[in-house]
Symmetry: C2
Subunit: 733 residues, 2 copies
Amino acid sequence: MASLKSIYGSADPEKAGLNSNFNVDYVIHYQFPQTDTTEAEARFVQLIESLATVGLATEVRRGDKSSLLVFVKIASEDFLKSQIYRYRVQDWLYGVRTNAPSKDLAAYFEAEPVTDAERLRLVYLLITKPKNEGGAGVTPKVGQWKNVASVFPLHNHAFNRDWIKRWSTKYVLDANDLNEIRDKFGEKIAFYFAFLQSYFTFLLFPACFGFGAWLILGQFSWFYAIVNSLWCVVFFEYWKKKEADLAVEWGVRGVSKIQLPRPQFQWEREAQDPVTGEVVKVYSPFKRLQRQLLQVPFAVACLAALGSLIATCFSIEIFISEVYNGPFKQYLVFLPTVLLTVLMPTLSTILTDLAERLTAFENYDTEDAHKAAFVQKIFVLNFITSYTPIFLTAFVYVPFGRVLVPYLDIWRATAQRFTKEGKVETVDFKINPDRLTKQIIYFTVTAQIVNFLLEVVVPYAKRKAFRAVKEVQTEILSKNEDALPKDPEEEAAFLARVRNEAELDEYDVTVDYREMVVQFGYLSLFSVIFPLTACSFLVNNWIEARSDAMKIAIGSKRPIPWRADSIGPWLTPLGFLAWLGSLTSAALVFLFSGNGHGPDGHPSNIKLWGLLLSILLAEHLYLVVQQVVRYVINKMDSPGLQKERAERFQMRKHLLQETVGAEVAETGPGFKGGEKITREALEEEARQQSIKGHGTPEETFWQRQRGAAETIQIGRKMISEVSSSNKTTTARE
Amino acid sequence: MASLKSIYGSADPEKAGLNSNFNVDYVIHYQFPQTDTTEAEARFVQLIESLATVGLATEVRRGDKSSLLVFVKIASEDFLKSQIYRYRVQDWLYGVRTNAPSKDLAAYFEAEPVTDAERLRLVYLLITKPKNEGGAGVTPKVGQWKNVASVFPLHNHAFNRDWIKRWSTKYVLDANDLNEIRDKFGEKIAFYFAFLQSYFTFLLFPACFGFGAWLILGQFSWFYAIVNSLWCVVFFEYWKKKEADLAVEWGVRGVSKIQLPRPQFQWEREAQDPVTGEVVKVYSPFKRLQRQLLQVPFAVACLAALGSLIATCFSIEIFISEVYNGPFKQYLVFLPTVLLTVLMPTLSTILTDLAERLTAFENYDTEDAHKAAFVQKIFVLNFITSYTPIFLTAFVYVPFGRVLVPYLDIWRATAQRFTKEGKVETVDFKINPDRLTKQIIYFTVTAQIVNFLLEVVVPYAKRKAFRAVKEVQTEILSKNEDALPKDPEEEAAFLARVRNEAELDEYDVTVDYREMVVQFGYLSLFSVIFPLTACSFLVNNWIEARSDAMKIAIGSKRPIPWRADSIGPWLTPLGFLAWLGSLTSAALVFLFSGNGHGPDGHPSNIKLWGLLLSILLAEHLYLVVQQVVRYVINKMDSPGLQKERAERFQMRKHLLQETVGAEVAETGPGFKGGEKITREALEEEARQQSIKGHGTPEETFWQRQRGAAETIQIGRKMISEVSSSNKTTTARE
């Protein structure tokens, strides 16, 4: 928490410029080359003019040596409200809001005040939307605006300080905490924390149960596997419901329908939107589908590249640690790790880049669709890098070890080249039964800690170092006679702080989601190997929530508060991992449960049909349980969805009463439908008809009995006739 | 088509009373015991009074010997319209209609006229709804109204005649045909025909492909299996979309939310409906869930009872046809068939009755939920009775035949008791390789024809016979001196016709759905055995549609035109069968494809792991393909859903303009937001602020640069300063 203290603890907030944002909505970080200033000036003028045209006030201050900070705020509160009103109307048109905005403005904004997030989102849209849609069209780093390094809102440090302090002293985040996040950082980030919190709470069960299982059942227990799979299903189905509920509560359900257009989208033709009637740009979905099919070779390529790298390193490691017995063994064991550490990030970067290009090539029209497609590919990459080593150990090394190890002779041959004697000392190969357990402990405990350090400590250190360099630079600069003029005293601290914030990275919630989903995967796929997995994750996730909060509050620029109505593209991987877990758990239990150490490396000792049968059974058990859980959870009260339906119903009722009048809505216009139709009225009508009647067969038919009384009379006669005729017949007989 | 001719062809329609319904909406068939007429009379009086109170006009006529026909029509057209208006408002409140009913009544009913189905549905509700909800509370056959045998609308024979004629001369039903059905018989039945039509059209492909496969690939082709599975997925996913589209087109989407309460429902407590705010009766869903769990033992019991019956008959059949070689063999082979024919319907009836009781015990609050739960159980029953014989042959008889046949000795022992010599001649058992093919041909061709005969010819014959008996009775009666008085001449034909209709069965669409779903199951599960299956079904279904139409038009009472927004509970079985098809096809191909005749009865010759692997692969291929097909189909334009969204959007827009005014809706109230915010306006505002300003740091910050012009000027200065300082530095160095 050193980082926290350094910002919020020791320094005087006033001095650090943390107490006020000077009403600034956004800061535009304008970087220009130090040489060619003419173009930079021209662009700058364009920038300020564009902003002014859409009603944004600007102030410019010096940034660092070759950049300016343009402070932007919305010029008039009235204009802001008119914008917000317009967006809320749009929400209502798309069915996101259940209540139409009312005409009485003061009361309306009193009842539904503007949140920080709403204000910031709208101002951001005003800055970045294309000019023909009423925005300033400033798209950072792209085309004309390549000098605009970033457009970012300023942190509310008073809130952040409070937030971090509160969270670090409580165990469980409640609805209020999430609402605060939502009001400050938007629903997209609030959804991440909501997910994290739900996941954390749900982890309590497998943590306790896993601890018990570890004590009593040991590893590879089929009972643990079943309970764990069941838990995965329940969590997944619960979250789907919770997500919808939250979306309603936050008033964003269906917001994913209102899409942010992607500026890079290339359209083929214009067409009328069948829903709104507006002209929209269209790209043939079938062409896109063809391009999407490239995902299949992409996935294969990823598997081939990453898989062969991992497999190679894996085999080297096995050779060195379990076959090789020559000199430098204690150093050589690190060789595969070094190889992985060097090559894996390189390969990952290349493939991520490829994924990015592929996604761009698929040419989505909205940011959400683009992001979702990208996430899909990223998930494939992460799936391979995260789980392949364990798959290799469990399903290749252990069962096929003895068969495959002779092929490791290529490493022996390689090694022989490097030794003088031309001979490499080896020991007899034996399957190392603890390898799998060790590996899983590494991934679920060690790696989590390493990850935490990478995520929190490294950026902090980097920032410290970076800042120190800057300070030295500034010192050198100030020693120069032509130092840049000083900031006005009352702004100096604030400006210094803004310059720091401008240097921070942008926060990407995708990274954090990815981490959690991959973690969930370890739990679902492999925790039967090491039942304490969930305990480790429980601890980790408590810290994770706080460190993510710190990352947002201190380690990143304040994020643009986007809206979202779910965790979006991460739901599918979650469901996929839960399902796959049923398969791998069954396979692991079948392979390893006998002696706890699995087969001895001879594949012939495995009953393949038994393995397949356990997988088949486990999977179908999973699918059946999923249906049941889904059914039960859907039966449970869902406060959010219920609220939404009730609101819609009331809205309709209200509108109906407003348009056609309360009484009419009940009975229909022009009728005295409310009054009981009496027998008299009916008879009167019949009489009327008989007067008008022209004697058609129909009229004759209906006039035989005038009114109910006659019908009754005649009917009774008919009944008694039958009875009497019966009696006659009986008497005669 | 004898039946058609006898009603519509030869006889003069005028004479047959087919041309007019005398404006009758409903006929209530009131049966009374011939002995105790006092109570019958009292009940009759109650009936007519109840009907009169809710605005229904009545006429009574003689039925048969001990029954009356009460003709009912709504007393006033205005009252009808007020009722319809009220129901349409309800539809709108529940979101079924996208447009709120308008105030201008004449124009409204001009634009959206009342269909036959709507009128009949409402009158039926008026007759049957409880008194406290404004109905007459007449529930046929239940409690107080046990004398009311049925409440039914009269056929529109002019339409029916036309309908049957048209359909019997065209190959494909189009949207108009379905719309007509919908207008006359309601959406529930229209959905059945829509499904049948879609299924028929889709069958063209497997019929052609199957014919080709039969010629070229033969039986048990893996290629056929894959194509067939793919077809099942496509059809299933297509229908799901089509169903939603149709619901929108017919204006019934979401109508399943408006539930018809089930009178037999027993409630625990009253609660407020969270959506509408009305008081509703509630039964704890968790108690119901407990009761629903009884379905599991029920399914097991069905499987045990039906399964053992089938297995027993099956084993007897095998013994007699393939082992036994003694006397009377040619007669004895029919023994199992006789046993099945006698015992199966008995057992089925018992189990159906049990299913009915179980469903009632589950205590659903709405008719739809009750029906759905019942359908679920019926499906289990039908699944067992329809497919068990083939499962037994394919997966027990063929692979395990040689192992199991020795156990058939109990039949030999049984047989020995009946023979004098105490010895039974037998032959050596050999697996009969054609048994499976013969069996599937029986189920997909012979049984379909038998079924058609049972469905159409038998009821017709029954009716003919029944009517003949009646005529004789009447003749005898008319010979009696105290014969009942004759009908008025102008009504005689009509009344005779109504008396006939009163005797007809009620049409139950469930039976027809069941038939189609079971048929789809044969195609999905077993058609790899006999690729011509779809050809047989194609022919059968062309006839099926016409014979179902005839069944409705001539063979049944006119059905109550209920609404529906889908094929309801039948969708799940359909999906289940498509999925299961991928498993069985894979298994069949694996077991039988080698020599075309499967294993030789020795289970040891089967590679179990190979079987399991093919099943596993096939299933996952199926699941993947399903996701892809779903994705692609969802990408395709869906005219219905699009139309619905567009209507909702327009409705909202319209309402908004109505409530807050067109201009306000665009810009927000009280703003001149439409006008461009100019730089001048902005500067003016800044000036205003500086006048009001109290010199807070914020104000000072924003007043350093007044307006964009100053910002530009200062920014340019800063940029050029950097450039010049650079030059200075460079110069100095």
